[in-house]
């Protein structure tokens, strides 16, 4: 139960706060209480895996898993969440009205995110996953008056919703393969070989990971989402939301086939380089951090991919990945918060306008410098350890072209990180610049980044303890087995390739920082080339869109207009073919003896009238020929042993035609001379028909059953009455209602005239 509480409590409280946002409430206190409870609860009540019934018919359960991996993520979510809640208080002080809503969204997001990491049932995972997408949409679009916020939120939800669908497909495929819904059981099944990998599963699962964790080619949404309030960026786009993809990659590692793992490593590497490149180009501080996040996420995916491929279970790679994850979440979160402080004070995030801002707020500057040093990996910081172990890992791999490429890319990405990080700090400490600073920095804003930095300090003091407490259990969970050797950390490994790589990073990075202007110009050249490529893409997209619209238009209009004749022709051919197939045409000798001469005449009349109807152009001619068809058909009924029906049909037909002619009176030039022909026609036909109907005819159709049952079952002597009222009572009742409705409508329609008269008066 504690797990369920952990996930549900913030979600419920958050949603309630969003709903009641218009009322005044101590939002900060509530949020802090909830986060405090989340952080403290596991200390009091130990968490454990749990499972509850949900949809037994489908085998869905509300099952949660508590192991090293989920605990590590939960720690990040709750810990950084608490810090962010505090920071939000300082950040939002100018706008207390919207504070409650923002807190509500953040709390709800905490709940959803905890759901993602604790879920063991795939459907629970999916639901929480989608919830995080939806809530992040609300958070990014928080300043909904701003166009960039709307556009960014829109792009984010489109991309992540796509990923959600992909995840659903992956879940479906995995379920078909294994027949269960528990992720732990999937891992077991795929690991033991009782379930088989398929390309669909690979691709769908990768799409889910790549969209959420902003891997190429889906990384564009993350910089766009920087329109969100800074605490949201610090929380969602550095620490939690974007790590959900990494989490799934770690949790469902067994579900990926080998080839896909190679693909993940490749894409991760490319993303790492591309993100660093993007960050160097940026001048907006937050967008720079977003690009750098993309880059680091690429590194994480690469590490997990290497772990999945490794022969020895990949423990080293997993350990580095988990370590890097925690390090990045803390450092990036702190950086975002510091950018928020600068933004608040100087009212801009553009690096070009911020020259020398740290000289006016030195305390912030010092903290920022320390964090950045941690981030770019200067020696004796957690960043150094993380980068160093990455290089060591690559060095330990079998030497091949791919490994060298991997190493080169890792160096390149690190150089990029070094360049933008150091350049940023140097610029902000720089001389000159006319940037004004307003107000003082609030405690609520500077304490949170310090708390996050503390991670680096703690780790630096007791690295082995932290590793065995936090990192190792997570690695156990990923590698799904325990091991004795814990990861060993040290600052010095001797003169190895890793050392040279590190030195290369620093040297190249320094050159890069010095030659920043030239670097920018060179990059701009590359950008122009890329633009040209993009123009081609835009052209393709436009073509596709226009042809789709064209097709849709044609579809919508096919049945209208005279082209419908073609449809008719197709239909005739189909029916004709079927009839010819069924009816043996060769046996068709129409002998006069079978059908009387009068019947033949009637048939000829029907055919003539029908053809006349089809070809006639004049309105009245058409109506008359239609009337003639009806009358002749009713005549034919007499030969088919249904004189009563013939009379009914005659009455219906006559009334209909009369009614129609009455309406046609409204046309402008009623050709009166021809109209007089119709009554004559009707009169003649009715006379003939009545005469024929009155000729005594032998009884041919005897409904024995009806006749026999008429009196005993229904106590009625009149067979027709009995049929209508008793044997077909239901249908007759319905028919009466139909006619009543029709009558109603006629009455109501004719009210138009009365209304119009009233209007005229």
């Amino acid at each position: 139960m504690p797990v369920v509480f952990l996930c549900a409590a913030p979600l419920v409280v958050g949603l309630a706060m969003i709903a009641c946002a218009r009322y005044r409430m101590p939002a900060m206190a509530i949020a802090m209480t909830v986060m405090g409870a989340l952080v403290c609860m596991p200390l009091i009540v130990p968490l454990s895996s749990a499972s509850y019934a949900w949809v037994p018919a489908l085998g869905w359960t509300l099952s949660f898993v508590v192991d090293g991996l989920s605990s590590l993520f939960a720690m990040l979510i709750c810990g950084i969440g608490a810090v962010v809640v505090l920071y939000t208080h300082g950040y939002m002080r100018e706008c207390p009205k919207k504070m409650t809503t923002l807190y509500g969204f953040i709390l709800a997001f905490v709940g959803a995110m905890l759901g993602v990491v604790f879920a063991d049932d795939a459907i629970v995972l999916f639901v929480c996953w989608e919830l995080t997408s939806v809530l992040s949409f609300g958070l990014v679009a928080f300043w909904n008056g701003r166009a960039d916020a709307r556009a960014g939120a829109w792009r984010a939800i489109v991309v992540t919703a796509l990923g959600g669908i992909a995840l659903l497909v992956a879940i479906g495929v995995a379920w078909m393969e294994t027949g269960v819904w528990r992720i732990s059981e999937w891992n077991a099944a795929f690991a033991s070989g009782s379930a088989h990998h398929s390309w669909l599963l690979d691709v769908a699962l990768f799409l889910a990971v790549a969209t959420k964790s902003a891997q190429l080619p889906f990384s564009r949404w993350l910089p766009g989402a920087m329109a969100a309030p800074t605490p949201v960026s610090a929380y969602l786009h550095a620490a939690t939301l974007v790590k959900a993809g990494v989490y799934v990659l770690a949790r469902m590692g067994e579900l990926f086939g080998g080839p896909m793992m190679i693909g993940i490593v490749g894409i991760g590497v490319c993303t790492a380089v591309w993100g660093a490149y993007g960050a160097v180009r940026q001048t907006d501080a937050k967008r720079m951090l977003a690009h750098s996040t993309v880059s680091q996420l690429g590194v994480l995916c690469m590490l997990l991919g290497i772990g999945g491929l490794a022969q020895d279970g990949g423990i080293a790679a997993y350990a580095v990945a988990m370590y890097h994850l925690v390090h990045h979440a803390c450092a990036k979160g702190a950086l975002f918060m510091l950018v928020g402080i600068v933004d608040h004070a100087a009212q801009t995030r553009d690096v070009r306008q911020l020259t020398g801002v740290f000289r006016r707020m030195p305390a912030v500057g010092v903290v920022a410098t320390v964090v950045m040093a941690m981030f770019v990996g200067l020696p004796f910081t957690s960043g150094f350890a993380s980068k160093e172990s990455l290089f060591l890992l690559i060095e330990a791999m079998r030497t091949s072209g791919a490994t060298i490429f991997l190493g080169l890319c890792a160096v390149l990405a690190s150089v990029g990180t070094f360049v933008y990080g150091v350049a940023w700090i140097v610029r902000l400490w720089g001389v000159g610049g006319s940037c004004a600073v307003h107000g003082d920095v609030r405690a609520a804003m500077w304490i949170p980044p310090l708390v996050l930095i503390a991670w680096g300090v703690v780790w630096g003091v007791v690295p082995q303890t932290v590793t065995s407490l936090v990192i190792d259990p997570a690695v156990h969970a990923i590698a799904s087995r325990t091991f004795d050797t814990s990861m060993q950390w040290s600052w010095w490994h001797g003169v190895t390739w890793a050392l040279w790589m590190t030195i290369a990073v620093f040297v190249l990075g320094t050159i890069g920082v010095v030659g920043m202007a030239r670097l920018r110009a060179g990059l701009a050249l590359g950008v122009r080339g890329l633009r040209r490529l993009r123009a081609v893409g835009v052209g393709c997209r436009r073509t596709v869109r226009m042809s789709a619209a064209r097709i849709a238009y044609v579809w919508a209009h096919v049945p209208a207009g005279r082209g419908a004749g073609i449809l008719w022709l197709v239909w005739v051919v189909c029916v004709g073919a079927a009839l010819v197939l069924t009816v043996d045409v060769t046996q068709m000798h129409m002998r006069i003896g079978d059908v009387s001469v009068v019947a033949m005449i009637v048939v000829a009349g029907i055919v003539c009238a029908a053809v006349a109807m089809a070809v006639a152009r004049q309105r009245l001619a058409i109506v008359c020929s239609l009337g003639a068809v009806g009358l002749f058909v009713s005549l034919l009924y007499v030969w088919l042993d249904a004189p009563d029906l013939a009379l009914t049909q005659l009455a219906v037909e006559t009334i209909s035609i009369a009614f129609v002619l009455f309406v046609l009176r409204h046309y402008k030039h009623p050709p009166r001379a021809r109209m007089s022909a119709l009554p004559v026609l009707v009169g003649v036909v009715v006379t003939v028909l009545s005469a024929i109907a009155l000729i005594p005819r032998p009884k041919t159709a005897i409904d024995r059953f009806t006749a026999a049952q008429s009196v005993p079952a229904a106590e009625g002597a009149n067979v027709v009455n009995v049929i209508l009222v008793d044997f077909r009572g239901l249908d007759t009742m319905l028919e009466i209602v139909v006619i009543a409705v029709a009558a109603c409508s006629v009455v109501a329609m004719l009210r138009v005239r009365a209304e119009r008269k009233r209007e005229h008066e």
Binding site: A141, A578, T582, V722, R728, L730, V737, V738, A748
Partner: protein, 493 residues
Amino acid sequence: MTTITLRLSDLVIMAPECILLLGVVVLTLADLWMKSSRTSIGIGALVVLCGALAAAVVQLVQETDATVLFGAYEADAFSSLCKIVLLLAACGVLGIAIGTPNETHAVGEMYTLYIPALMGAMLLVSSREWMTTYVALELLTISTIVLIGMRRAAIGKEAAMKLIVLGGVSSAFLLYGISFLYGCTGTTYYEVMASRLDMGQDASLITIAFVMIVASIAVKIALVPFHAWALDVGAGAVVPVAAFLSVVSKLAAIILLWRVCVDVLFPHAADVVVDVLFVLVCVSLVVAHVLALRQVTLLRLFAVSGIAHAALLLVPLIASGTRPDVDAWTIWLYYAVAYVLMNVGAFAAISLTHTTGTQPHVHQFAGLVYRAPWTAVAIVCIVLSLAGLPVSAGFFGKLFILLDALSQREGTAGIVLAALIVVGTVISFAYYFRIVRQMFWRPEGPVPPSSVRTRWFAQTVLWGSALGSVALGCAPGWLMELLAQLIAHTVVS
């Protein structure tokens, strides 16, 4: 027990329909003689529907399983459930209708005419005989036509005219198909007909009759090559009538198709019929979503998106291939309930924000969050359900159908269906979220006057469906088990 003539005891079996019939007579007379107000007639109609609902529930609880008139009419658990769904939908429609400004020539008919239309729909569910089916279908169609044509604006009459012609043509096709089946068997009862049909002797005749019947019902459902009318007619009707068309009429036609397929068509030409339906459903799934992207008038948008939902409702039928099992029926019923909830809710939202005298347009939601935040919350719930996002009834409905398609239909067909459903869902986000975007993001300008706050019936409907959607999304297992338990007996027997 089957009787050959209509007896008084049979009326008890047909209690829901009989209550409706009595109700409509009483209400019409009251409307004529008592000069009562429009709203009181509307509430009267609501009471009648509730009476019928109670009767249907009682039948369901008592596990009534009886036939009337040689088995032309059958009341079993499944038909009772369908009737309850239809009745609930109609209650929602009436709730939307009560309190709308009168845009029609009608006075009380605007409420009373829903009842015969609903009666037709309910008889379609229970009918096991072609004549009854035909007359019930016509009762539904003609009543709907009159409801549409009553609109004072000329487009209403134009839409009615289109529906008359199209309804007539599709009935003609249906009857032509039936006439061949009658010619082959000499009966119009489903069961007898199914036992007498002989594919060996009249294969091509039977096949073409089947295809004609399927096509004509597809016209009623508005599956894709036969969909053009649905847009025009939907746009020409007033909002509650458009809701009725899109929910009750469509659902009734789908139930009819299920019935006919299971009872008559599948035992003889399952492969042909399933192939035809497969093509129709696939094309509908694609085209409906693409067409919907282009719509900005709300009634058109929902007419088109209704087509996509209808196609989804046919997936369990074609996935099963032959005789659908309990799961397929249950999944179908679940999605039908979800469909009713979300579409009735959507139309309630349209009606609430609608300015009289204009065509409902996406812009009418502009800035709703600032005008009526709670209503906006309810609408968001409904849109989530429509788009199939968790946690909502629509999500689970879609998911069940997707899984059913994948698990039932082996090979390419299942995967194609599943892929189309997924792609369609993705496309649908674009047009459903246009509504949400309007609500949140448009700058506050001069807002059109609307009666959001004053119409309690429509508000109740909106909230009922929003909460219902969310509740079903939270506890789908509860309803699934209930449904499975209720219909297990019927399907097995």
